[in-house]
Amino acid sequence: MNSLLSPTQQIPLQDLQPNGNSGTHQAQIHNPQFDPTSSHDDFLDQMLSTLPSCSWSDLKSPWDPPKSDETPPSNPDNNVGFHYDEILASKLRQHQINGGGGGTTAAMKMMMQQQMMLPGRPIAAAGGGGLTMPLHNDIVDGSSFKSPNQQVDVTSHYLNLVGRVPCKLCTTVSVLDLCMGLIISHRTSLSIFTILRHTFFSLLHFPQRITKTLNGLMIHIQLFTSILFIVQGGNMQTQSFGATAGTVMNQSQASGSTTGGAPAQPKQRVRARRGQATDPHSIAERLRRERIAERMKALQELVPNANKTDKASMLDEIIDYVKFLQLQVKVLSMSRLGGAAAVAPLVADMPSEGGDCVQTTAGGGGSLQRNSNGNQPSSNNDSLTVTEHQVAKLMEEDMGSAMQYLQGKGLCLMPISLATAISTATCHSRNPMINKGSSSNHPLLQSNGEGPSSPSMSVLTVQSATMGNGGLDGSAKDAASVSKP
């Protein structure tokens, strides 16, 4: 983890170290915490060293007097934490009073008194060494710090205090989550964030204390909240962090995602881990998108040819399918006009007179546009024969003109063999209808695009056949049946 630090950032750390020259316990204070091997120490290392080195030199001066006034420690661990805490607390105090200048001895003494007034702290039996539980006295210290210049120092103090929190499962999580939020708001580097997280997880391995320290921890968090308020210099954060602290304590775990949203600066907004949305708006958006996706999937199953490459093309497919279905309904309803009788006798077989005979299949109804105009090229028998003769005449002259004439009428040529094949292929029972074709002159013809998929109507099949042919047939010499495209 040290590699994450720039060399300049490590300097204040080293500045800190020589201050522990008073005794072995001082060394104990620093060494376990600065030991790069232990995870705690790494955490603290990073914390302290990435702070901008504003006034670490000032630390040296206030440290000497407190050392002399230390109460003899009853417990080495207690001492360690005590001293370190005291040192930083005093440093903060000093900065508060003097705005970054040298500290007064009076302030120092006050600080020391407060420190000494601490009742017996619960001692963390953590293996990391040097972890003690600060109590409410620290809160007093913290709340008195009012200077906005203490950004660095407060952070360091806060981090130090946090580092000494014993490892409770829930509370530690919450505290460190709060830490993360605070740290991020302090515009420290993201490496701290990752380190903090790492440390948090490592802290989980330690044995747990239970209720005794829980209260202290709660107060501790409130302290941090107030500190952050001071540092940020604004009111909003306090409230948000107060709320966060409250909720953090209430929740057992997994409050990390919410603290990410607590800091107000948009630059510092860190995407909460694992893709969780920090915004009610984005959550709603995501929900909406998911709903739309699942509806698209359901639609995909309904529509045939559902090779969903992407959503836009899928929507186009859906639109086409709906249009097609509506068209089918229209066509089918047109075909139904005859009712029980022959619906739309489109195939009117004239008796073939040999190979050169032209069979006319009259079709009516035509395209839907024509229908909507109310104009249907109705062909009864007379018109059929007329057309027939006309076509025959034209074909003698020129095939092209004949075809054009037919197309103008909305008819086309197809070989008889094909027409008969189709009409017989659909259903032999359709012959009666074919026979009746001439009598009832329903000029309706479905011009649907589905082709052979609707074999229920001989009309339709003839339709499809003609459409498949495209209305053109080179072998006009053979008997051709004229049918409407």
Binding site: A312, I319, V322, S333, G338, V343, G364, S429, S456
Partner: protein
């Protein structure tokens, strides 16, 4: 001819079929088949199509937005035929009711960040009552509408089959 598809008496298919057949018989009773002028035929075609849509909408009742829209359209159209003035009035009130029911969906600009605006608009034109839905509901309604349309087509095909044999 057997109607093997009427297995479930309360399914959409059977409901639609019964209504549609009833409407068809009514239409057949009205006009003789012999009329073959184009306009007559066209009118009859229209009548049948309307009957098909109407019976479909009625079998769905008001459970769906599109069916409600279609029913309203049909009613307003029939009112308009009888009496132009009353049609306009009822049309207005109905439209007000429709707009009130889909409260606020119309006014909202539909650039909802999902990015299907053009296709969605086209779909809205296809599905009856689609203008008053947001994308989510629109897709839902489209799914049901497609299902109903396929049912309609199947039944009409079978009927045509039966009668044209």
């Amino acid at each position: 001819m057997n109607n093997p598809h009427h297995l479930n008496p309360t399914s959409l298919k059977s409901r639609f079929t019964t209504r549609f057949l009833r409407a068809l018989t009514k239409i057949r009773a009205q006009k003789p088949i012999s009329s073959s002028s184009p306009t007559e035929i066209f009118r009859r075609y229209r009548r049948i199509k309307v009957a098909a849509d109407k019976s479909m909408a009625y079998s769905v009742r008001s459970r769906r937005i599109w069916s409600r829209a279609m029913l309203w359209k049909l009613r307003s159209r029939s009112y308009r035929r009888q009496d132009p003035c009353s049609g306009r009035r009822s049309g207005k009130t109905n439209q007000a009711i429709m707009k009130k029911s889909s409260n606020g969906n119309i006014t909202r600009r539909r650039e909802d960040g999902v990015g299907f605006v053009e296709e969605a608009d086209e779909l809205r034109q296809l599905v009856p009552g689609g203008e008053t839905m947001n994308l989510c509901n629109l897709l839902d309604e489209t799914a049901h509408y497609i299902k109903c349309l396929t049912t309609q087509v199947q039944v009409m095909k079978k009927i045509a089959d039966f009668y044209s044999f």
